[in-house]
């Protein structure tokens, strides 16, 4: 058996096994938590890289769990988009794990429960990305939510507790909507397998089911005006957790929406319903950015930036059915570069919090002298979030603009540009402080480089993504509804 075949059979185990097993072991033996966390996070990152290579070379993979094919069994699949999500999650999780040790050292050690929950979250996200079965996706959504809520609580204090509980309640409400939608889907079409549904489903029941599922996912993704739970939860959690939540957990919900609307919904339905997503996305872009500009604490600012950046994705959704390949790749690039940049920002904010003792933006004068590497992280992440070249965020924005202009959707163009300028405003509000002379000493002694390098790696990757755009864009299309389409067309 050659290695390629081995991978083709065992890839789900590779993605789920170590994280689940490690999580369980870390729960039983908390003392092993740190070692397990580091080891599994590294292993998971290696597995993700291996699978990216496999999908890029050999095309999408599919697997029927337990040998039961759909409609009875649970289908798993790893196409281009899924493997990119897996990669983003693995990289952020790895960087977070590396950073977590020095982050928590300021408070003694990682709180009990951190490592098991961290590993469960990794497993749940992987499971979510590879599921091709609507009900299994429900279970994975719940697992993700549960692990995420548990991690938010670890922020300690009443605020984190309240934020976590609100997050849990909103998330559960959203999941139930989704669950009911899945029920309708099964009742009407007798299956919950995505590929099967894609070939069969049509009619009013599909619309009703999709509407319910979408409503649920809107809550989970924290899109405006359902974002109220997001800033306190992401801003109040421990920094590595915020990184994971802001970078991936909310985007996972968007990932599902992308699948649902582009693989299941017929064009007529999409054209009818998706403008809602466009409107909400536009509002989110502006609302999030304005609140980020007004935020007084760094972490809250970053959390509001997530609200704004998510808006871009929802804004892109209605453009997708027509401008297919460009927007699909653009959204994939945006998800990926946002995940990397946002993860880096939160990890950097954690370092600031530990070294400076607070994260009030007004008090960050002279940070560039104290923590040059962390400020470099902020700069690189800002480049990608604003969408300045040569970052991944730039290419993504280019593709979205291209799609919007080609379709004559000028409102989307306007929102994209306004959003970029606002992102520049809120990011440089922080950076301007960092470059002011407020601190007379030199570099802060005793800040572990281990705390800063992972964040730097993520931020640099977000920028470098711009140079690998061709490859990422092509990979994102593998196995998608737009496979084989030209990425950048010329308007007729």
């Amino acid at each position: 058996m050659n290695p390629g075949d081995w991978l083709a059979h065992w890839w789900p185990g590779l993605l789920l096994g170590p994280a689940l097993l490690g999580g369980a072991l870390a729960f039983v033996w908390p003392r092993l938590g740190f070692a397990l966390g580091q080891g599994v996070a590294l292993l998971n990152a290696l597995a993700a890289v291996l699978l990216v290579w496999r999908v890029a070379v050999g095309g999408p993979l599919a697997h029927a769990a337990g040998g039961w094919p759909a409609p009875l069994g649970i289908g798993l699949r790893l196409d281009g988009l899924a493997v990119l999500m897996v990669l983003a999650a693995a990289l952020v999780a790895w960087a977070g794990a590396l950073n977590a040790r020095s982050y928590f050292r300021a408070h003694g050690q990682a709180p009990e429960g951190f490592w098991p929950l961290w590993l469960f979250l990794m497993a749940a996200l992987n499971g979510l990305f590879i599921s091709a079965d609507l009900f299994n996706l429900y279970v994975m959504l719940e697992l993700t939510g549960l692990a995420a809520v548990g991690l938010v609580v670890l922020g300690g204090g009443t605020d984190s507790l309240a934020a976590a509980l609100r997050y849990l309640l909103v998330g559960l409400g959203g999941s139930l909507c989704y669950l009911l939608g899945v029920g309708l889907m099964y009742g009407a079409y007798g299956t919950v397998d995505l590929p099967l549904l894609a070939s069969q489903a049509s009619g009013p029941a599909l619309g009703a089911a999709l509407a319910l599922m979408t409503a649920g996912l809107f809550f989970k993704a924290g899109i405006f005006p359902f974002h109220f739970w997001l800033p306190p939860a992401h801003g109040g959690a421990p920094a590595p957790v915020s990184a994971m939540l802001s970078a991936l957990v909310v985007e996972a919900a968007f990932y599902l929406l992308m699948r649902l609307w582009l693989e299941l919904a017929p064009l007529s339905l999409a054209e009818l319903a998706l403008p809602v997503s466009g409107v909400l996305g536009s509002a989110a872009v502006v609302w999030g950015a304005v609140n980020a500009l007004r935020a007084e604490r760094l972490k809250l600012m970053i959390a509001y930036s997530t609200v704004s950046q998510l808006g871009y994705l929802f804004l892109a959704l209605p453009l997708m059915p027509l401008a297919g390949a460009a927007i699909w790749s653009g959204a994939a690039l945006l998800v990926l570069s946002h995940a990397l940049a946002k993860g880096a920002l939160f990890l950097g904010a954690g370092t600031v919090l530990n070294v400076v003792g607070h994260d009030r933006i007004r008090g960050l004068n002279g940070l560039a002298q104290r923590l040059p590497l962390t400020v470099a992280v902020f700069v690189l992440a800002a480049v990608s979030l604003i969408g300045l070249p040569p970052s991944g965020g730039f290419l993504a924005k280019w593709l979205l603009l291209n799609g919007a202009i080609a379709q004559g959707q000028w409102w989307a163009v306007a929102v994209l540009l306004v959003g970029s300028v606002l992102a520049g405003a809120y990011m440089f509000r922080v950076l301007g402080r960092c470059f002011t002379y407020g601190h007379t000493g030199g570099r802060e002694p005793g800040v572990a480089l281990a705390a800063q390098w992972p964040a730097f790696g993520l931020a640099a990757a977000a920028v470098a993504l711009g140079l690998a755009g061709s490859w990422v864009g092509a990979l994102a299309l593998a196995g998608s509804p737009f496979e084989g389409d030209a990425l950048l067309g010329v308007a007729p």
Partner: protein
Amino acid sequence: MTLENWLPALILLSSLLPGLLIFFLAEERHKTRTILNLGGALIKVALVLVMVGGVFAGRSYESRLTLLPGMDLVLNADALSVLLVTLSAGLWLVTTVYAIGYLEDSPHRSRFFGFFSLCVTSAMGVAMAGNMLTFLMFFELLTLSTYPLVVHRGTPEARRAGRIYLAYTLIGGAALLLGVVWLRVLVGPLDFTETGLLADHAGLDPNALRFIFILLVGGMAVKAALVPLHGWLPQAMVAPAPVSALLHAVAVVKAGAFGIVRVVYDVYGVEFSAELGLLAPLAAVAAVTIVYGSVRALYQDSLKKRLAFSTVSQVSYIVLGTAILGPVASVGGMVHLVHQGLMKITLFFCAGNLAETLGIHRVQEMNGVGRRMPYTMAAFTIGALGMIGVPPLAGFVSKWYLAAGGLDAGQGWVVFVLMASSLLNAGYFLPILYRAWFLPASVPWPRERAMPGRFETHWMLLWPPVITAVLVVLAGVLAAAPFSPLEWAQLIARREYGL
């Protein structure tokens, strides 16, 4: 994998790599940093010379990297890019020497020189960009890498200037991005061609093209400081003198003007732009900017601010030359690209010397400074006279060709604009020269610093302006010699007009 494919990329790397390394250098590693800085600058000059020779001999150089299918990062060397590349490479070398001397003992040098190198890398990228995408990328990178230089002083004033700078350039960048993507949607890959890439596309909606032109030129006009988008430039003079010198002579302002040249000649094509009726408004804006900048300069007491308004005025000569149809005016505009850089960098170096050595920041304080710092003020005088357009200095050549071009194109008003501007130039430069040379010194100087060595100031501060002043003279006197900026500008004009 030949030299032809690698040379443009190598020219970029020769400042990019030292820049990245410098970021990670400890503050005390003075010697290593100097070696990296000067080594990079010298290698760059050598590589550029190889390229100039090659382009003159008719070879073409191109480095290409595919970002997305149909979206390539292209660096190449046509005659126009060689003009700016040579200027930037040469002036970077001089400015590096100057900056090392200027920032001696000041804090955060690693950060400064890191961004300084990135800034030059972006300026090089702007110069060698072979299509709009590449141009846009380096144009934005330039915004980003100059921001830390503008706020380098770290004072509230500097931060305010940085904020204003960003507000202007980010919004301008957004307009430019929209224009580029829109045009990309309409006509496909936007590779520059010498007669204009739109020449190959018939039947496009002229109104859309006009609007795109406004977006593109508007986005660049922010950096070129065309009125009314010039507000950031006088604020940005709070930056350290070497930064102002670079900003005004080769990097930011020049990138904007160069971009306008590219759009008019190599994207739209000069004849097609005229056909769409776009050149006349552009010429009008340039003319207004020329006069307005000069008038404002008259009233500035701060020396650097006066120079900044003078830049607002002078850069628009380039735009004016571009906006007048006809090869003669084009020659005037393009040769001014080089001449303005040489003259303005001389003036800013001198202003920096006065500030560093004697603490002089305002024109009022300059009485008798000519006797205290004769070399510096001699260089300043050459730069100022060049700006006024006194023959046989560089500025005279530019103005001569612009005026002749205006007459050639039947637009006599250009001559009046140039005359008014020259009078105003004289109005704000001659009083400075008079004070410096003919009024008694008002000792003690505001804040005199003892400089080591036997010169009037540190040698690393003295030689750069002297060298650039000599170049100003040479560019004027030897204008007809081979390889002079004028000769090269004529070569470009011949190619752009397909003569």
